[in-house]
């Protein structure tokens, strides 16, 4: 933290606020050392993040030619179509498929994250009251999180078999994994099962740093459980909860493994944007696949920005940084 202020304000040695020089002076040597230490990381990220982004943008402006050309030969190569792949998103058959995938992605994200948040809060509340057996409980709550999503897809497909345990428990004969609303429900149930414990764990950690005295004071003032929850627990875990929800939102938007394994690729009722882009690239239609990937990236970025701006989720500790910067600036002004 102390290092950030120095980085932000570039002080000369005399104006550096006293007591903030824990990390020593910023010298050219240190800058060079930092560059040396950071460059491998940044180089790899450039290859696996920046290059794909630029490459996808470029590729999304081309389209693979298919079929025969006028002289009867198989046409090879790609033609430049500009924004054609993007304008095609809203028309015709492929457009309908895109809109369906977009709708599914949004639907899954909203429903699963909402359910996970409520369930995760309940889990955290219950665990916060447990004193004995907490470590056993914590280990078991980590298991859904630790199971690979592909395995959990397989597991739930087995549970949701037409003659499987889910149907015999509720005494029904639902074809869960066939197309339709039941397939959507199967995905939502399996996803919530796996991720609600994650939210629960994060929220529990947030609850455990609330001092017990506050609750005792509330009890003396006659606040019941519900009132304590609403007026103490919820506001105080809100920052943690928001970060957890943001993580989950961004993760749910790129959902791929679970519907892919649980229901299968190319199923209309559960096809997400990730699955659609994957399918397109599998068909060697890199142009439209890239366009879908770019759209998904923009969607994720938009949700992240809107979420952080609207709800003020403090993900990278930026508020802290800003506050520190402001403090440094005022101190500097005073010193001058």
């Amino acid at each position: 933290m102390s290092t950030r202020t120095a980085a932000a304000s570039r002080p000369t040695p005399d104006t550096r606020p006293p007591g903030r020089k824990k990390s020593g002076k910023r010298s050219a040597g240190e800058g060079r050392m930092a560059a040396m230490l950071l460059s491998p990381t940044l180089l790899v990220l450039a290859l696996v993040i920046a290059y794909p982004l630029v490459s996808a943008l470029y590729q999304s402006m081309f389209r693979e030619q298919s079929g025969l050309d006028a002289s009867g030969f198989v046409a090879e190569g790609e033609i430049f179509v500009g924004l054609g792949n993007y304008t095609d998103l809203f028309v015709g058959e492929s457009g309908a498929r895109f809109l369906n995938a977009f709708g599914n992605t949004t639907f899954f994200t909203v429903t699963t994250v909402a359910l996970e948040t409520v369930l995760g809060l309940c889990l955290a509340l219950a665990m916060n009251r447990a004193f004995r057996g907490r470590s056993f409980l914590r280990a078991s709550i980590l298991i859904p999180w630790a199971i690979p999503t592909a395995v959990s897809g397989l597991l739930w497909r087995w549970i949701f078999q037409s003659d499987g345990i889910a149907n015999s428990l509720i005494g029904s004969e639902i074809l869960w994994t066939a197309e339709g609303l039941t397939a959507k429900m199967a995905v939502i149930i399996a996803e919530v099962w796996k991720t609600a414990p994650f939210i629960g764990l994060l929220v529990l950690a947030g609850m455990q740093i609330i001092p017990e005295e506050i609750y005792e004071a509330a009890k003396i003032d006659g606040a019941g459980f519900w009132r304590q929850f609403r007026s103490i627990t919820l506001p105080l875990v809100k920052p943690t909860l928001l970060v957890a929800v943001l993580f989950r939102l961004l993760d749910a938007l790129r959902m791929f493994d679970l519907p892919f394994v649980l229901i299968g690729p190319g199923k209309e009722s559960v096809e997400t944007l990730s699955m659609l882009a994957w399918d397109e690239s599998n068909q060697l239609r890199y142009g439209s696949a890239s366009a879908f990937a770019i759209i998904l990236f923009l969607y994720v970025a938009l949700v992240a920005i809107v979420f952080v701006k609207l709800l003020g989720a403090d993900v990278a500790g930026t508020k802290e940084v800003r506050a520190l910067r402001r403090a440094t600036r005022t101190r500097k002004a005073k010193a001058l």
Binding site: A6, G31, L38, V44, L53, P148, V151, L154, F256, A316
Partner: protein, 296 residues
């Protein structure tokens, strides 16, 4: 806080002791009920996978709580060589292991620079590294699939390891930075006053102190890489190179309508068991690692 709380007993009717006792009994009862519900919620599906994996093919559709009779038939079939599942496990181990090692090495250097050195654009660089972790996997896969096809990397380990770094590095840098920032600088400073160079202070003082954090980060990164699916699915189609998660998703029976559920469950158990063991041993560290970023 202007009001001085007056200590009036909230209620003292005649039957108070009894009622309190009853209330307390009910309360602890409900707590245990809630905990039991959580246990069932978390473990029942996994338990069902375990039980099903020990059934014979003939009674795979039984709904008894224990396999009757108990049979290791599915496990024998999984490893009988026709599915290359052992190879797939080895591949997963190699890919996840190398990914973790590479992310840790790069992450330690980056985290040291961010937490201990003064330089320009630091918060921007940290922000960019964190932001990359939200990059959707498919947006990495589509362009790289093409690049790797061109340079002949399809069906190689590096075709999985390099893209894996797109989520492993942000995870490692983020965790390690949080951890190193929490470590006091005084010890290193003392070492440097005693004549250590910056590098020596890093290697001999900071690194041993940071070992628990490095270890936690290693566990988290390994679990994430072990569970990775979309990259491995796209970059590899040769069964001898594919990872375990992809291999079990492709387990199919003789016909489409006769999925080998027993074998799938057995394979699922085998893929999950290393993670379950890690969770049981290192649960405290894992929870710390997961929550350190969110609650600081």
């Amino acid at each position: 806080m202007t009001q001085i709380p007056v200590l009036t007993p909230v209620e003292t009717p005649d039957d108070a002791p009894q009622r309190v006792a009853w209330k307390r009994g009910w309360k602890s009862y409900s707590v245990y009920l809630g905990l039991a519900a959580i246990l069932v919620y978390c473990l029942a599906p996994f338990y069902w996978m375990l039980v099903s994996s020990f059934r014979r093919t003939a009674d795979i559709f039984d709904n008894t709580l224990l396999p009757q009779p108990f049979s290791a038939e599915n496990y024998i079939k999984v490893f009988d060589g026709s599915t290359l599942f052992g190879q797939a496990l080895l591949n997963s181990l190699i890919v996840a292991g190398v990914t973790t090692a590479a992310a840790l090495v790069l992450g330690i250097f980056a985290a040291y620079a961010i937490s201990r050195l003064n330089f320009r654009f630091k918060s921007v660089i940290l922000g960019v590294i964190i932001a990359t972790s939200m990059f959707p996997g498919i947006s990495v896969v589509v362009p790289l699939l093409r690049l790797f096809t061109d340079i002949g990397w399809i069906n190689t380990y590096q075709a999985m390891i390099v893209p894996n770094l797109s989520f492993a590095i942000p995870l490692a840098v983020w965790n390690l930075t949080t951890f190193m920032k929490a470590l006091p600088f005084d010890l290193e400073e003392a070492a440097m006053i005693d004549g250590c160079s910056k590098w020596q202070a890093f290697r001999k003082v900071l690194l041993p102190l940071a070992a628990p954090g490095v270890f936690t980060t290693a566990i988290l990164t390994f679990i994430h890489s072990w569970n990775e699916f979309i990259i491995a699915l796209s970059m590899v189609n040769d069964p001898t190179v594919q990872t375990a998660t992809v291999a079990i998703s492709k387990f199919t029976g003789a016909t489409e309508f006769q999925a080998p559920f027993g074998e799938q469950m057995a394979a699922g158990v085998i893929v999950t068991i290393p993670l379950v063991i890690m969770v049981l041993i290192f649960q405290r560290r894992i929870v710390e690692g997961l929550t350190s970023g969110a609650t600081k």
